[in-house]
């Protein structure tokens, strides 16, 4: 038996496709997510909206809290490590989480280097705002990519920008002549070998999910139609007025994203969505800044 192969790591992301991965902060929320049809949960101490509000340094969650969630559900449990903080990742691997998110939602621990993800048997998902960033993460060993969006805002505009950017750059790469690929690799700041593979296949070698700002069933359907293979929903569910219904509705819209009548039915009577934030205000002086700019 051979464990920790890339096929096994990337394979779990294949199994999550077409699904919704939900942020949860308690075992009770994890049960709600599982019963609503979540394909996995992300165990963390505070959802991004609260991390943004509270400020300070955001770190890996308490192992007790992660274990409580592992005991509460049978679906995969993911957890976040700070960018570059390989010791946090080692702890998460020791806890046997199913996926590690090297996440810009937490405060980066290394301003130059991401974690060497090849060194782990647990797979990693990483955020990206463009194709070059995605390919650098894959070169470091990421087995799944998610567009970053702008976490904790309930505003889907940045997620749309990032998925459009990644899909557009993929199309452009696929159209290039092979002799143009070394220059493309230079521009993308990504290894030529991976650039060649991606140009040939016209898609990333790993699963691509969307994250950051999804708050409604229609948001979920939008991201799927733009080419996401599944959705992460962070603050959007448990910061809304009726998490159970909203969780089910977002799962339904992610599955039936091509059927507007189904998305319409899922959108009815969900109560209040989370309050959203305007991206321009965050980016202005004193606005708290953008999480998506973390990572290199």
């Amino acid at each position: 038996m051979e464990t920790g192969t890339f096929r096994v790591k990337a394979g779990l992301a294949e199994m999550l496709k077409g699904g919704v991965i939900m942020d949860v902060v308690t075992p009770e929320q994890a049960k709600v997510a599982e019963e609503a049809g979540a394909a996995a949960v992300m165990a963390l101490e505070r959802v991004p909206a609260d991390i943004r509000r509270d400020g300070g340094v955001a770190r890996m969650s308490d192992p007790n809290m992660i274990e409580g969630i592992q005991q509460a559900v049978t679906i995969p449990v993911m957890a976040k490590a700070r960018i570059g903080h390989f010791a946090e990742a080692q702890v998460l691997q020791a806890l046997e989480v199913d996926y590690i998110d090297e996440s810009e939602v937490l405060t980066p621990a290394d301003e130059a280097h991401h974690i060497d993800k090849h060194a782990f048997n647990v797979p990693f998902v990483c955020g990206a705002t463009n194709l070059g960033e995605a390919l650098r993460r894959i070169a470091e060993g990421a087995a799944m990519i998610r567009s970053k969006g702008e976490a904790g805002t309930g505003n889907v505009v940045e997620a749309v920008r990032h998925i459009r950017m990644i899909k557009g750059e993929l199309r452009r790469l696929a159209s290039l002549d092979p002799v143009e690929l070394p220059t493309a690799a230079k521009e993308l700041q990504a290894p030529l070998e991976i650039v060649r593979e991606v140009a040939q296949n016209g898609k990333l070698p790993v699963v691509l999910f969307c994250a950051g700002g999804i708050a409604t069933p229609a948001d979920a359907a939008l991201m799927m139609q733009l080419g996401a293979e599944g959705n992460f929903v962070g603050s959007g569910i448990f910061k809304s007025s009726d998490p159970e219904r909203r969780a089910r509705a977002i799962v339904e819209a992610t599955t039936h994203f091509e059927d507007p009548e189904r998305v319409a039915a899922a959108s009815r009577e969900l109560g209040e969505p989370m309050a959203g934030l305007e991206i321009g205000e965050l980016d202005a002086p004193g606005g708290g800044g953008l999480l998506q700019n973390r990572g290199w």
Binding site: E14, K17, G37, T74, D98, E229
Partner: protein, 186 residues
């Protein structure tokens, strides 16, 4: 069959990997998310994924009865990993086995291993948070075991495996879907 149309249940999971594998063996793959989409297909694949998510999808879509009718029609049905779980006694009740979910452990214990499958020979099995089969009814033929646990079975027109043939380049299992009319693998 002349270029058969094979449905892939696409409520959630690795249905695209199956669609690609089916295209490799000359089939036209069609995603199935509704009852209507079950009509007019020659065979069906229930993919890997999260069995809890897929079970909820089957319920909300009212797919249990149409799936039972499909199996009763004798057309080939392949289930992999969560697909096996969905077919078992505790779920759709179409396969007379009891599967134990995540029996091999969490993702850290996920693995690849060679599997000797009766009729097909040695295959590379990719096991991801995989189930094994705890008990098997009389009409079920065990085709492969690992560590003493059944991991591949056939019951008339259903072939169910605990691993993911769609994640390798070996197409022997998918060829079964399109060439054997639901008979023994060969």
């Amino acid at each position: 069959m002349n270029r058969p149309t094979v449905g892939v249940l696409a409520l959630q999971g690795d249905f695209e990997a199956h669609a690609k594998a089916l295209a490799d063996v000359g089939a036209e793959a069609r995603t199935v998310r509704t009852r209507e989409q079950l009509e007019g297909i020659d065979a069906l694949v229930i993919p890997g994924g999260e069995s809890t998510t897929m079970t909820l999808g089957v319920e909300s879509e009212g797919l249990a009865e149409p799936l039972r009718d499909f199996v009763a029609s004798g057309r080939p049905v392949l289930g992999t990993c969560a697909g096996l779980i969905l077919l078992d006694r505790d779920h759709l009740g179409l396969l007379d086995v009891t599967a134990r979910r995540n029996a091999f452990g969490r993702q850290l214990q996920s693995f690849e291993a060679d599997v000797d499958l009766t009729g097909l020979g040695t295959l590379r099995g990719v096991f991801i948070r995989a189930p094994w089969i705890e008990s098997v009814g009389d009409g079920v033929e065990v085709l492969a075991e690992l560590d003493g646990h059944p991991i591949a079975v056939r019951q008339s027109n259903i072939l169910a495996v605990a691993f993911h043939p769609e994640l390798t380049d070996d197409r022997r299992v998918h060829r079964w879907v399109v060439t054997t009319n639901g008979g023994p693998p060969q």
